[in-house]
């Protein structure tokens, strides 16, 4: 029997914006009553048009923003309304990997400090084991332990993306949300990072929710995909079936938009 890693039910998020002091408030329905389930050790792809609510979902899963309605269950625990101390125990179970830019990693911290940070915050290992743990994580993501004392600006984009991944797995996260993990990297590095993500998934039994707009990435990584359009999941199912036989007009358009 497979374990359910993530269960999202009726999840919505609306934002209220006010155009000016005089005008009415406007409600933006960024995410509208979505449902989906991700099994343990599965990768679910989340694709969809720009502004359709993918990052907003990620932010709600990570509890970086509150949801407006609905529920989020992480390994059987309803985390929707957990806050503060109660959430602390679960926060390390779910991590996010952002698209790499110079802004994601603090340029003033060394690689060693960057990897120690989550280990210390979540008290993952004892103080005197920290150094060994940093080495172990560096090796897991395919980096040399000689990089420890360097700064992010001294590493390549692909190497920095590996540091971001090391920080995510440092907390022994079970579920990792990846928001465009390779879109800032050139093709030769993209392959390295995708292979690394697949390897870590097998080795650590990880579950992924992978947000991307690149269909070849989805095909490579995900057994299931959900297609989003204007805040709703308009199509969900096995990747191959959805991509070879799309039923929704937006999915059809997406697949047809090949450049030639």
């Amino acid at each position: 029997m497979s374990i359910i890693a993530l269960k999202v039910e009726g999840l919505s998020k609306h934002f209220i914006i006010k155009r000016s002091v005089f005008s009415k408030k406007i409600k933006i329905d960024a995410v509208k009553k979505i449902n989906f389930v991700v099994k343990q050790n599965e990768s679910m792809g989340l694709i969809g048009e720009s502004g359709s609510g993918k990052t907003t979902i990620a932010n709600m899963l990570l509890k970086l923003i509150d949801s407006s309605e609905g529920s989020i269950e992480l390994f059987g625990v309803d985390i929707t309304n957990l806050n503060g101390e109660a959430m602390r125990a679960h926060r390390k179970d779910i991590q996010i990997i952002f698209q790499y830019t110079h802004a994601v990693l603090d340029p003033k911290m060394t690689i060693e400090e960057l990897i120690k940070e989550p280990l210390v915050i979540h008290q993952i290992v004892k103080e005197h084991d920290l150094d060994e743990e940093v080495d172990r994580l560096l090796q897991m993501v395919g980096l040399s332990i000689l990089e420890r004392k360097k700064f992010p600006s001294q590493l390549s984009g692909g190497q920095n993306q590996r540091i971001i991944i090391a920080r995510a797995i440092a907390t022994r996260a079970k579920l990792i949300v990846c928001d465009e993990p390779v879109s800032a990297l050139d093709v030769s590095v993209q392959g390295q990072i995708l292979n690394l993500l697949v390897k870590l998934k097998e080795e650590l039994g990880l579950t992924y929710v992978l947000i991307t707009h690149d269909l070849s990435v989805v095909k490579h990584m995900c057994n299931r995909i959900a297609v989003m359009y204007q805040g709703e999941i308009v199509e969900i199912g096995e990747t191959e079936k959805v991509l070879s036989n799309p039923t929704n007009p937006y999915t059809k358009k997406l697949i047809a938009s090949i450049l030639d």
């Binding site: 934002f15 914006i17 155009r19 000016s20 406007i26 933006i28 694709i47 969809g48 048009e49 720009s50 502004g51 993918k54 990052t55 698209q99 790499y100 830019t101 110079h102 802004a103 600006s153 001294q154 590493l155 390549s156 984009g157 692909g158 190497q159 465009e180 879109s183 800032a184 990297l185 050139d186 093709v187 030769s188 590095v189 993209q190 392959g191 390295q192 995708l194 292979n195 697949v198 707009h213 269909l215 070849s216 990435v217 095909k219 490579h220 358009k253 997406l254 697949i255 938009s257 090949i258 450049l259 030639d260």
Partner: protein, 320 residues
Amino acid sequence: MNNKLLEVTDLKVSFYHETGKVQVVRGFDMSLDNGEIIGILGESGSGKTVSATAILKLEEDDVSCIDSGTVIFKGLSLLDLPETELRTIRGNRISYIFQNASSALNPYKSIGKQLSEVLKNHKLRYSKEIVLSTLSEVGIEDVEMVYDMYPFQLSGGQNQRIMTAQCIISKPDLLIADEPTSSIDASLRKIVLDLLKEINRKTNMSVIIITHDFDVAKYLCNRLIIMYGGLVVEEGTIDEIFKDPFHPYTKELIVCASSLTRGDDIVYTLEGFPPTPFEFGNECPFANRCKVRLPECTSGIPRTLEIGKRKVRCIRFEER
């Protein structure tokens, strides 16, 4: 008739670090005609963004330093112009779409205000209509609402397209677009690229596009520049480079891309990492990963060889 719009020669750029100055771009040359679209491809960290921003002196003086080189734009030597004059060119005759649009836009000003300011600051014809229609050209829906919104209220892909709108609204002679479609899905990507093509056709705007997406390069560009380790390692037309790549790095890149699109179980990758500027030596930067390396590859940086109209920086092409 001189049809040259931009000529960049022997550009070298360094950054200041705690440990001193480190050169990250060691040789960037480019020539661009009016109406031409050129693509820059290459490993992340190879110096694409730094080279392109140096053209407009966009980095602060205390952060980086242009060690050498000339940039001639319509007969003007940009690197010698005073800042006040450069400002009349930036965002007006030459626009720059930044790679990280969400942080490049001003967080404190509404989208409408930011776009209007481009027109007002450069004393171009302004009306709200122009701003709204430019927003809708880049595929923004509900433009009236977005006009009053702020960057933090918009998604990554929306901000990226707003940045594009901000850059084309002044009808520049040259658009430098740094990964302009990296955060948007395929259908919007086509809309944005088609728009750039159309402006190029109608107004003869030249484009320098930095991308790692081969499909984008093929769809848009006439010519390509390939960078590695702070150097331009190859230059040629799209057809030449895809049908018959010269540089071993370019060859590897093409194999990697086709493995990913083909859907191989394990994506073919190039082993190892590129040298970072701290590790640059007096050798071919690709030597340690090159499958056809010769002993001479590690003695000296290969010079640029011209083969017909193509260029390549690899000693295998030296006449013997």
